[in-house]
C-alpha cells in the first residue's frame, strides 16, 4: 500500500487552482488549433458571432423566464418549492456554457436569425445616396386590400422581430420544443433531490409555454403570406427582389424567392443568407431572373455582407446566368423535396 501524502489545506487549494488553470489553458489551445484549421470562408465574422451569442442567450432566457414564471404561479403559496427553482440567469449561463445547445438545428435557426439581424441594417447602409426605398409606401397604399392588409401584418411582425437585440429568435417548432425541455430540466436540477413538487409544476408550465407559441404571428409566416398575395409576375421578379433588398427586408426577399421557385421558405432563407451565392443564384435563375438582375442582387448582398467576397461574384453570376431556366429548375429539384427528407439527407451526407 502506497503511503498517502496528506497535503496541508492551503497547498491542496493552490494545486486545485493550478489544475483548473491548466485545464483552461488546454481548452484555449484546442480552440486556437481548431481556429487555425478553419477556412476564412466559413469562419463567422465578429459581428455575426456576437449576434449569435446574444440570440442564443435571448432564446434560453425567454424560455426560462416564461417557464419559471408559469411554474411559480402553479406553486403559489409553496415557498419551499419556489425557492428550489433554479435562478433563471444561472440557468441561461449554465445552458449556454454546457455544450448542450451545440445542436445543429438550433444553431442553424439561431445563426439564420443572427445573420438577418446583421445583414438587414447593412443593406440599408449600402444604399446609394440618391436611392429612395419605394417598396414600403407602395405596399402600404396598394390598391388591393389583401396586399395592404398582409403588408401591414408583415411590417408589424417585422417590427416585432426587430424590437431589440435581446429579443428571442423565431425558432422552428421542433427546435423550440427541444430547447424548452432542456431549459425545464435545467430549472429543476437543484430541486429534484428535494422532492418538493417543483418538477410537475415546471413540466406543466413548459407544456403551457409550448402550446402558447403561435407560429402564424411570426415575421416569416407574415412574409410568406405577403409574397403569396403579391404574386409578382415572373417578368418583374428581379426588380421586386431588388426593391426588398433596398428596404433591407430579407425575410420578404426569401419569401418571394420561395413563392416563385416553390421551394420551402427555410430553404430560400438559407440560400439568401449563405455567403456563397451559388444556391441563391441558381434558385433565381430557375425563376427566369435574367443574368443582369442576378448580378445586381448578388452585388447588393455582397456589398452588405462582410462574409462575402465580391471578387468571387462574377464567376458565380456567369455560371448561374449561363443555365437555361429548365436546367436551373432541374438543378434545384432536390431543394423542393420534403423538408424533413431534406433534413435527413443532410444528416446522412454528413456521416
Amino acid at each position: 500500500m502506497a503511503v498517502e501524502v496528506f497535503h496541508e489545506a492551503p497547498v491542496l487549494a493552490a494545486r486545485m487552482r493550478m489544475s483548473a488553470a491548466a485545464h483552461h489553458a488546454e481548452a484555449r489551445l484546442d480552440a486556437a488549433v481548431a481556429d487555425t484549421q478553419l477556412d476564412d470562408a466559413v469562419r463567422l465574422d465578429d459581428e455575426s458571432r456576437a449576434a449569435v451569442a446574444a440570440m442564443l442567450d435571448a432564446a434560453v432566457r425567454h424560455a426560462a423566464d416564461a417557464i419559471a414564471a408559469g411554474a411559480r404561479r402553479l406553486l403559489s403559496g409553496n415557498a419551499t418549492a419556489i425557492s428550489a427553482l433554479a435562478d433563471v440567469s444561472e440557468v441561461a449561463v449554465a445552458l449556454v456554457g454546457s455544450g448542450h445547445l451545440a445542436e445543429r438545428e438550433l444553431m442553424r435557426a439561431v445563426l439564420a436569425e443572427a445573420r438577418l439581424s446583421v445583414l438587414e441594417p447593412a443593406l440599408v447602409g449600402v444604399r446609394a445616396p440618391d436611392e429612395v426605398p419605394l417598396l414600403l409606401p407602395r405596399l402600404a397604399d396598394h390598391r388591393d386590400p389583401i396586399v395592404r392588409d398582409r403588408a401591414t401584418a408583415f411590417l408589424l411582425a417585422d417590427s416585432r422581430r426587430r424590437r431589440d437585440a435581446a429579443h428571442p429568435p423565431e425558432l422552428p417548432a421542433e427546435v423550440e420544443r427541444r430547447l424548452a425541455w432542456l431549459v425545464a430540466a435545467a430549472l429543476t436540477c437543484d430541486a429534484a433531490a428535494l422532492g418538493s413538487g417543483v418538477e410537475p409544476a415546471v413540466i406543466a408550465a413548459t407544456r403551457r409555454h409550448l402550446s402558447a407559441r403561435n407560429e402564424d404571428r411570426g415575421a416569416d409566416a407574415a412574409a410568406m403570406r405577403l409574397a403569396a398575395a403579391l404574386d409578382v409576375p415572373l417578368a418583374e421578379t428581379g426588380t421586386a427582389l431588388i426593391d426588398t433588398l433596398v428596404e433591407g427586408r430579407l425575410r420578404l426577399f426569401a419569401a418571394m424567392v420561395a413563392h416563385v421557385t416553390r421551394v420551402d421558405y427555410s430553404e430560400a432563407l438559407a440560400a439568401t443568407i449563405d455567403p456563397d451565392a451559388a444556391t441563391l443564384l441558381t434558385l433565381l435563375r430557375s425563376a427566369g431572373v435574367p443574368r443582369d438582375d442576378l448580378a445586381r442582387i448578388g452585388l447588393r448582398l455582397a456589398d452588405a455582407d462582410r462574409m462575402r467576397d465580391a471578387d468571387m461574384l462574377p464567376d458565380a453570376v456567369d455560371a448561374a446566368g449561363a443555365l437555361t431556366v429548365e436546367e436551373a429548375r432541374e438543378a434545384i429539384a432536390p431543394l423542393t423535396f420534403d423538408r424533413d427528407f431534406r433534413a435527413a439527407q443532410r444528416i446522412w451526407t454528413r456521416r
Binding site: V124, P129, S159, G298, L299, V317
Partner: protein
Amino acid sequence: MSAPAVSLSARVDGEDRLVDADEGFAALNARAGGGPGALLATPQLAAVVRLARRLRIPVARAVTIADAASDLDCWVRAVADERGVTLGLAVLRERPGWREPVNAMPPPVAPAGAAWTWETDGALRLTRVMPEAGALAGFDVAMALGQPLSRVFALDPDAGGSVPILDAMAERTDFDAQPATVRESQRRVLLAGSVRVDVAGTFAGFVGGTFPAPAPAVPLAPAIDADERFNTRLDRALRGPLGRIVANADSINAGADGAVDPHYADYAADIASAGRHLLGLVDDLVDLDAIERDDFAVEHQTLDLADVARRAAGLLQVRAADAGVRIDKEDTDVALPAIGEFRRTLQIMVNLIGNALRYSPRGATVWLRLQRDGDRAVAIVADQGKGIAVADQARIFEKFERVDPSEPGGSGLGLYIARRLARAMGGDLTVDSAPGMGARFILSLPAA
C-alpha cells in the same frame, strides 16, 4: 449632401488600363503611384472597375481613398461597355486620415430608456414601430407604418421655439426632447432620435425613441362632456351609499336595535341629517347636469298652477308643522291654468316653499298667492323671514350662492335650478324683498 461634391472621371480599357482621365483623377492616380496606360493605382477603384467589367452591370459603392495625409470619402460609379469601363468619382468629403471611414460606422441605436422605439427613412416615413407602441401611446400601429412620422405625431416647438427634429434632420445629428402630441390619443410625449446617414453622409432617417412627457405646468381645461359623465357617476356612486348611511343612522337614532346612549342617538340623528343634505346635493347636481345640457327640454302641457302649489304645500306640511310655521293656501282653491311641465313646476314650488319655511321664524306664516297677470299665470310665495338685501337679490340665483352661507342646509343650487327651469318653460322666477320685511318669490308661467 453636405458640400458640393468634386467630380472626377476616367476611362479604362478592356484590360483595366487607364486610357483617359480628367486632371483631378490623373493627379489623384499619380499621387497613388499610377499613370496613363497602367492599372489603376488605388486598389479600391481597381476593384470596382474589375467588378463592373466582369458583372457587366453598373457598379456603384462608397470607397475611402487614402490621398496623402487625407482620406477621401467617395461615391464611385463604374459603367462597363464592350471596350472598357467609364469611371465617375464624386468626392463627398475630405477628412484627416485617422478617422474611421463613414461606411464603417455602426448602425444607429435607439435612445436608451425609451418607452417604445421607431425608425424612419429619409423622408421621415415610419419604417418600423415597436408593436407595443399602440397600447402605450394610444394609436393604431398598423395604420402608421409606411406613413409620415407627422401623421402619428403633431410636432410642437420646444421652449426655445425651435423644432429639434427638423434641426437634427438639416444638420444630420441626433436630437432629444422634441415635444410632440400623439394625434390619435392626444397624449403628450418627448421624442429622441439617433441619426442614420447613408454612405455619402446624407440624411437617411432616424432610429428614435418615445418618452412620456412631463406633466404640463398648466393643465388643460376639463372637457364639458367629462363633467357630465362626472355628475352621472356621482349620482350612481353616492346615492346608494348615502341612502344606506341615512337609513342606518335613522334606525340607530330610533333605537330600533335596542336602546342606545342618548348622546349616540343624537350623533346618529346628526349623521342622518348630514346624509340627507348630501343626498339633496346629489339630486341637485344631477338636475344641474340635466338642465345645463344643450339638449335639455321641458314639456309644455296645460296644468293648474293652483293645484301644483297646493300639492307642494301638502308635501311640506310636516316640515311646516315641525318648524311651527303656518302655510296659508286659501288662494289655491281657484284654478289657475298655465302652460308648463307639471313635475318641474312642482319642483320649483317645493323649492320656494321649502326656502320660505327654512327662513321663517317660529309662529310665522308663509302665504301662497295665485293670480293672473295679463298672459302670465303667477304664483307668489311670501314669507316673514329676515328678507334679502337688494344687493343679494341677483346673487341668490347664481350657482352655489346662498343668502347666508353660514346657515345650515341647502346646496346653493336650488334657486339657480328653479329659475333655469322656469325660464325653460317660457316663464321666470324673480324675487322682491327688503331686509326685515320678508321675501316674495314670484313664479310666472305662460297662462293657458
